[in-house]
Amino acid sequence: MSLLKLENLSVTFGQFRAVDQISYNVNEGEVLGIVGESGSGKSVSSLSLMGLIDYPGKVSADELSFMNQDLLSMPEAQRRKITGSDIAMIFQDPMTSLNPCYTVGYQIIEALKTHQGGTKKELKTRAIELLNLVGIPAPESRLSAYPHQLSGGMSQRVMIAIAIGCNPKLLIADEPTTALDVTIQAQIIDLLIDLQKQKQMGLVLITHDLALVAEVAHRVIVMYAGQIVESGPANEVFSTPKHPYTQALLASLPESAAGKARLEALPGVVPGQYDRPKGCLLSPRCPYATDHCRNVVPDNQGPLERQVKCHTPLDTLGRPAA
């Protein structure tokens, strides 16, 4: 069953479209990977799901629903009941994501108290359970620790404890390991995937670590300049990319450049507010771009479960179709 459904979601800041008409859905117990380079709209789109886009940002969509409830039309107070309980989120930099003035225990219990309530003692027991669950040693004594006394990995575990505290059905992880040590990254991802399986949560994993997505995600969405350029089952997208951008992303991995002197890179940068091309957004950087690409915006092609936004999708050998 579909947990979350997005239909043509856009987030605009004044004239600038940070997220441009994206549509996808997340099913129960599914891991969805969202990849793309910096500035492609990955984080903004996920913040909009939580209702965390601030003025002057504007969110619009044909549909934005969670378990068949329309999130956009619902009153703020009602939406807050879903935010943080049924949909939870963890962020990129755990060291700055916890409030320095309050203890770990206070910050975990605050979320529990808001959504579930209970006596002081129950809440405390529950917080200790949660810390245990996310693998923090000596949880009883950690409750009274302040964030500055924790390492980055520990802080991210606390963030995860806060997020899963109210048993969310959907967890959004926005680059959860980017700010962490390589050795800690694997531990945090293992923990997230473990919890996802245990609780059968839907998990949206936003990252630019393609290898990670290939390993853990069921489906993957590739974003470029606020648009979804390709989507499909993770193994298919990575083994036979149909969009030149996905192909370029994969080619930029150090593994693909084995034996070569330099890593493959796509020249240029993501277009900003003032240099958006007329046709396909990738056309200035695409090695296969034609005049048609430069002048006409491509539509989504292919079946819903395997879509690509390109005039000339690549074939199985990685060459553009005629």
Binding site: L47, M50, L52, A77, R80, K81, I82, T83, G84, S85, A88, M89, F91, D93, T96, S97, L98, N99, P100, C101, Y102, E110, A111, T114, H115, Y146, H148, Q149, M159, I162
Partner: protein, 336 residues
């Protein structure tokens, strides 16, 4: 913590030496001396002048006078007023409650208006409210105290007749000096209407004295709140689905208060120095008016002693602020 307080206190010693030296020399640099002022227009003969100088110790070299003064201070003796012959300390203690009362009410005015105004301006940044608060506080900050006092007096006391012009209480009441605080004494006196008279006398001076601190607090709170509101942990708090007021008061304000507390501490200095002008304009019988009058009379011991006590109070308050800092900010409390 004790080590911290001790370290701070040891820094106070050079400050004290500086204050005594400055006040001692500056007051003597003003033309005229206490004897001439006492003699007034009639003047005084050279022999009589020399006689009085010797009696008061002014004939000795300056460094001897300074040494005598400082050794007196170290023994807790601030000297006697040249005019009233009363000990400086006891004069100060009689007048100080009036200043405290005024400064306290002004501080309350500044905090209770400035803090919420700054918070709301930050939360509703870019709106008309924000711009009004910022404009108003800039105006308030730039306004000379004496002029602002006269302006308010003209409007509210003279034209509208809402508040009295000067003094601490209406002349029809005779209030026994129990605590020195008119608000408390007027209640203790049990006289009908005394309290409301005391309050109405306090309103304008408090507003005048509190305006600059209020402006500073409002601006500081706003900029501090703006900074904190864009922090990652505010996003985390909002992602928990807690109510917006809770995000602002519990999560943002506590962090934003850290710099604001320092500023509030610094305002105590402004309140006490501002009290000098405010008390003079409103004929408020506190230490501000006392100091101004002593300068006019070249009452050296009063000026030296009064400024020394005021400076000590400012130092102590700032020390307390540093301690309060540690209470609000766990990162300071835990680091040694």
């Amino acid at each position: 913590m004790f080590q911290f307080i001790f370290r701070r206190l040891s820094l106070v010693i050079p400050t004290f030496i500086g204050i005594t030296l400055l006040t001692f020399t500056l007051i003597r640099l003003i033309p005229g001396d206490p004897i001439e002022v006492m003699a007034g227009e009639r003047g005084v003969s050279a022999e009589r002048h020399a006689e009085l100088s010797a009696q008061l110790g002014f004939d000795q070299p300056l460094y001897v006078q300074y040494f005598n003064y400082v050794s007196g201070v170290l023994q807790g003796d601030l000297g006697n007023s040249l005019v009233t012959k009363e000990p400086v300390l006891s004069e100060f203690l009689t007048l100080f409650p009036a200043t405290i009362e005024l400064a306290f009410c002004a501080a309350m005015f500044a905090i209770f208006i400035g803090l919420p105004a700054g918070i709301i301006a930050a939360v509703k940044r870019g709106t008309l409210f924000d711009h009004s608060v910022m404009t108003f506080s800039l105006t308030g900050y730039s306004m000379p105290i004496f002029w602002w006092a006269l302006l308010l007096m003209l409007i509210f006391s003279v034209n509208l007749g809402w508040t009295p012009v000067s003094g601490r209480i209406d002349v029809v009441y005779w209030i026994d000096d129990v605590t020195g605080f008119m608000l408390i004494d007027s209640i203790l006196s049990g006289e009908e209407g005394a309290l409301s008279s005391a309050i109405s006398h306090l309103i304008l001076p408090s507003i005048v004295l509190g305006t600059i601190p209020m402006a500073v607090i409002a601006r500081m709170t706003r900029s501090s709140m703006l900074e904190v509101l864009s922090e990652d942990y505010i996003r985390t708090a909002r992602a928990k689905g807690i109510a917006p007021w809770r995000v602002i008061i519990i999560h943002a304000l506590r962090n934003a208060l850290i710099p604001v507390i320092t500023v509030i501490g610094l305002q105590v200095g402004i309140l006490l120095s501002g009290a000098i002008l405010t008390e003079t304009v409103f004929a408020w019988p506190g230490i501000g008016k006392w100091l101004i009058e002593s300068i006019g009379r070249r009452d050296y011991p009063v000026v030296q002693g009064g400024i020394l006590i005021v400076a000590s109070i400012i130092i102590v308050v700032n020390l307390l602020v540093d301690v309060a800092y540690g209470i609000v900010n766990p990162r300071i409390r835990h680091s040694r």
